[in-house]
Each structure stands twice: as structure tokens, then as C-alpha cells.
């Protein structure tokens, strides 16, 4: 009914439709899987390969998402939220370095540093998930934290296996979202391109 327009819901739907492409899930999956390959092969090149996830994300947004979904500039409120996210990202980076330095300097037991890291990961992913209104992100945070915890409890090999399992799960989720996105949003006809 006309009187029942929920404007907040409408804006949220428009915003979250950009996450329906599964590209974030794909980026996460690639980072996890390449980190596993890096550990198994002990080849430093795979550390660089982890960034391919970010590159695929950026290219995918440009060549898959935008041509199918169109362009939008969100409200200043939404932009403000993103600025907060950038600040948090900076703080997270500093805290991560701090934790690494502390664990090396004070020779913290791996179990304790794993627990600290796991809690930290969940908090960070939780904040991101809230600010981006992207609910699946908290699931990935839990996956990261669990694999970090497994690493601390059962050793690095077990942690690597956990990463592989979570990477495959994320990859399957990414594929299902991406396939659905492509079939739901086919490339528009020429008349729409001409409207631009």
C-alpha cells in the first residue's frame, strides 16, 4: 500500500543489492585458498597471489556488477558511514601490528595470542558487517576466527586444513550468488545503453 513505503528499507535494499553479486565472498575465498597454497608450497609468490582476490573484486565490480545493476550515488549519510569504516580500517591495521609486535616481544603462548586474535577478528568483522549492513560478513569473521583458534589449539597444519574447508565453503557461496546475480540481472539491451 502506498502509505506503507518504508524509505529506510528501500535504501537498504538498494545498498545491499550491490552485495548480491557474491564478489566479496569470492575475494574472501581466494584469500583463504591462496593462503593455504602458500603454506603448503612454502612459496612466497602465493602471498602476492592473495592480492589477486582484491583485484578480481575490483574488476568484477567494474565489468560484472555495474553494467548489470547500474550506477548510484548514495546519500551523504551512507557516505559518512563509509568514512567511519575507513577510519576503523586504519585503527584495525594499527591494532593488528600492535598485537603482532606484542606477541613477538613478550613471547606470548600461541594459544593465548590465537584467542586474542580470534576475539579481535570477530569484533572487527562484526563492526564491518554492521556498518556495511552486509550480514554474511560476520559469518566470514567467525570462519576466520575459528580457523585462527584451531591453529592455536591444534597447530598450524590443522589451521591450514580449516582455512581450506572455509575457503571452499566461501567459494561455493560466491559461485551460487554470482550465478544467481548474472541470471537475475542480464546485460541490458542497446536501448538502455543509448539512454545513457
Amino acid at each position: 500500500m502506498n502509505s506503507n513505503i518504508d524509505l529506510k528499507k528501500l535504501e537498504r535494499k538498494a545498498w545491499t543489492s550491490y552485495f548480491d553479486d557474491g564478489l566479496f565472498d569470492l575475494m574472501f575465498a581466494i584469500i583463504l585458498i591462496t593462503s593455504v597454497i602458500r603454506t603448503v608450497t612454502d612459496n612466497a609468490w602465493f602471498t602476492l597471489m592473495m592480492f589477486s582476490g582484491v583485484i578480481i573484486y575490483i574488476l568484477g565490480k567494474r565489468f560484472i556488477t555495474v553494467p548489470r545493476l547500474g550506477r548510484v550515488k548514495f546519500s551523504s549519510e551512507r557516505v559518512e558511514r563509509q568514512s567511519k569504516l575507513t577510519i576503523i580500517l586504519g585503527i584495525v591495521f594499527l591494532i593488528t601490528i600492535g598485537i603482532l609486535v606484542l606477541s613477538l616481544q613478550f613471547d606470548l603462548p600461541s594459544l593465548l595470542s590465537s584467542i586474542i586474535m580470534s576475539i579481535f577478528i570477530i569484533v572487527v568483522f562484526g563492526i564491518f558487517s554492521y556498518l556495511l549492513e552486509f550480514n554474511r560478513m560476520i559469518i566470514y569473521g567467525i570462519m576466520f576466527a575459528v580457523s585462527e583458534g584451531i591453529s592455536g589449539f591444534y597447530g598450524e597444519t590443522a589451521g591450514t586444513y580449516a582455512n581450506l574447508v572455509f575457503g571452499i565453503i566461501a567459494f561455493c557461496i560466491a559461485c551460487s550468488y554470482l550465478i544467481r546475480f548474472i541470471s537475475n540481472y542480464p546485460l541490458p539491451g542497446k536501448e538502455v545503453a543509448n539512454a545513457h
Partner: protein, 109 residues
Amino acid sequence: MPTKRNGNKETKSIPKIDKLIHEPARLSIMAHLYVVESADFLFLMRQTGLTFGNLSSHMSKLEKADYIEVKKEFIGKKPHTMLLLTKKGRKAFQEYHKSMKEMFDELPE
């Protein structure tokens, strides 16, 4: 059954309803443009579920009423058309939203 007094109250807000916005497709376009700063034609097509022809015809009516504005900008070297609500359109939508809310609030349970 609403009383005669209630009946008068119900109809009080009706004359204020902007008929141009009240049409469902145009209402959807206006609402989507209201919650963002600007959007392109494809984005509106996807969000509203309207076909190209349908959206075009409603857009022209809204543009004629000076409710929406077409803005040309460059993305890289390519020109791109973005659509946004004018001040008049934004105000009209706010008033429409308020009137509809008032009208439904006045209805008896």
C-alpha cells in the same frame, strides 16, 4: 463503520495528494530517487522492476513536472546520465509522504 465525523476527517487529506506521484510506478521512481543522491536509468530499472519503455514514459512526465533532473557527467572519458530529484521534486515527495501518512493515521481502527 466510520462515523460521519470520521468520514470528514478521512477525506481532509485527499485533496493534498499529488496525483502525479500517486501513480504506483512514479511513486516507486520518486521513492528510489528520494533515498539516494542520484542514480542512472539502469539502476532505476532494476530497482523498480519497470521496463525500459515504461520507465522512460514515467520519467518524461516527472521531468515535465520539474520533479526530476537529468545530469550529464563523465565517468572516465565516457559521458553518463544520472537522474536526481529536484528541490521541487524532493519537497513534493515529502509532502506526499506526509499527506498519505496523515490520511491513513486518521482512518478508524
